[in-house]
Subunit: 280 residues, 2 copies
């Protein structure tokens, strides 16, 4: 067995990807993690596939300076739009959140209807349906964009808030009438509203957290490559953002479920200088 | 009397500024208008003042190529963060939406309490309160960020939608208890929800649309400079966006209240090429 003590790099358009980091930290407590949140250009969920792909490539160029052993695209929109491009061009393995969530949904769905909720851009990309069809060509998939869930989670409204519940019912009741077996939370913000979503869809519908499934996939990938960390020290989380480190620190704690100590603002000059040097 | 047939340039982080364009077109039907929506980086309302100022300067550099006679910052967040910088550095007059809305609120408020609703960034900047204090140092101002109103308007929910009304009550009922005379809609998206807002605050509270006041200020400025257009032809609206022209065209019609014909996507290369040439 060999080891690899390089870091795991994770990125998202903003803070949502911290729910994936939370799952990674719970399962791999000794790994160092570098996180980048593109908070100057957040959200990606209402932007075109071309623009999101460009943002994702620029971010990966930035992250490569940290010599990561793997890059995790902890953003459904970026995974849906850019993953094939990133996997073709990056010198390290790159894992997105769509494929792990889609695979688990097909497994748990057992041939029944699969519901997917996500941002406008992720739904428009049809990435979940396409991934599910690769695992099971007969998969029946129904999809619904839920654009208010992101700002509701960022505003700090909990699952017990009346607005959260009203919006959840408005989005999800039409889906429930289609009688799905499973519901994929295809946006890294949505696990914060898990309880509200669960209340509306009921116990008969299994909730799949794409971020959680992604953490499992990362572990499998690193194990297969004998690339887990062999230190016994607590892993370190270092965060970089393109804007507003203070807001990231405050909001991020709810997503990570612990205090965020180390957040550094990266200016456009720093961001693009590295990106240009890497792509030169 | 002299005339000036150059265009009026208007910009916003996205589509909200079209409510200001609508007011301009209603009042100045012969003027040509160039609009830029920074849809690749929208929204500005959750970003830092430094980042918003940089975005606004880059956009003005882009707009200067059209040789405008005036630039209208049809975005409350950008007006709050960047207007003094823009006014100092631009070679043409530059008008924001905060000052006109603040002035009208002080006039209509007649010494009573003034309520302001806007994005997180606009409220944090305290720009409305500061502007109101310049007009009346005793002005009593209460402010409230309403972050869900923008995605609700963009999702196409009307004022009669149950979610819209629930959110409006949630945000505005605590403000109503402070007994304001006037309420400033300090975000260019909010006029789309005017009816819901009006229902919650009641007839006793005057609603001020900062965009509408800005259109009046633009007319006054152009009249004073003898810079109105003297053609009798219908003015032309030309729109540029940094992402997703199709989404802009579809959503924008509700904001403009008419069909948008001419929308061109500007690539980052085009955007920054002009910006660098101008600032060189």
């Amino acid at each position: 067995m060999s080891y690899d003590n390089r870091c795991i790099a994770v990125f998202d358009s903003g803070i949502g990807g911290l729910t994936v980091v939370r799952e990674l930290m719970n399962r791999l407590p000794h790994e160092d993690i570098i996180y980048f949140g593109d908070t100057a250009r957040v959200p990606y969920g209402i932007k075109s596939s071309e623009t999101v792909t460009r943002f994702a490539r620029e971010t990966c160029d930035f992250l490569l300076q940290f010599n990561p052993k793997i890059i995790v695209v902890a953003c459904n929109t970026a995974s849906a739009a850019a993953l094939p491009t990133l996997q073709e061009t990056l010198p390290v393995p790159c894992i997105g959140v769509v494929e792990p969530g889609a695979r688990e949904a097909v497994l748990q769905g057992r041939g029944g209807t699969i519901a997917v909720i996500a941002t406008e851009a992720t739904i428009n990309s049809d990435a979940y349906r396409r991934a599910m069809k690769r695992f099971d060509e007969n998969a029946r998939v129904v999809q619904k964009p839920c654009p208010l869930f992101v700002p509701i989670a960022e505003e700090g409204r909990s699952s017990s808030d009346a607005i959260t519940m009203a919006v959840a019912r408005d989005y999800l009741e039409p889906l429930v009438r289609l009688d799905p077996n499973v519901l994929v939370m295809g946006c890294t913000h949505y696990p914060l509203l898990r309880s509200a979503i669960g209340q509306v869809v009921g116990d008969g519908v299994k909730l799949i957290d794409s971020g959680e499934q992604t953490a499992r996939t990362v572990i499998a990938e690193l194990t297969q490559r004998s690339a887990l960390n062999d230190t016994k020290c607590e892993g370190k989380l270092t965060c970089y953002v393109s804007d507003n480190p203070q807001r990231f620190r405050e909001l991020g704690q709810r997503f990570l479920n612990k205090t965020i100590v180390d957040v550094t603002w990266i200016s456009p000059e720093q961001f693009f200088a590295v990106s240009q040097a890497n792509s030169a």
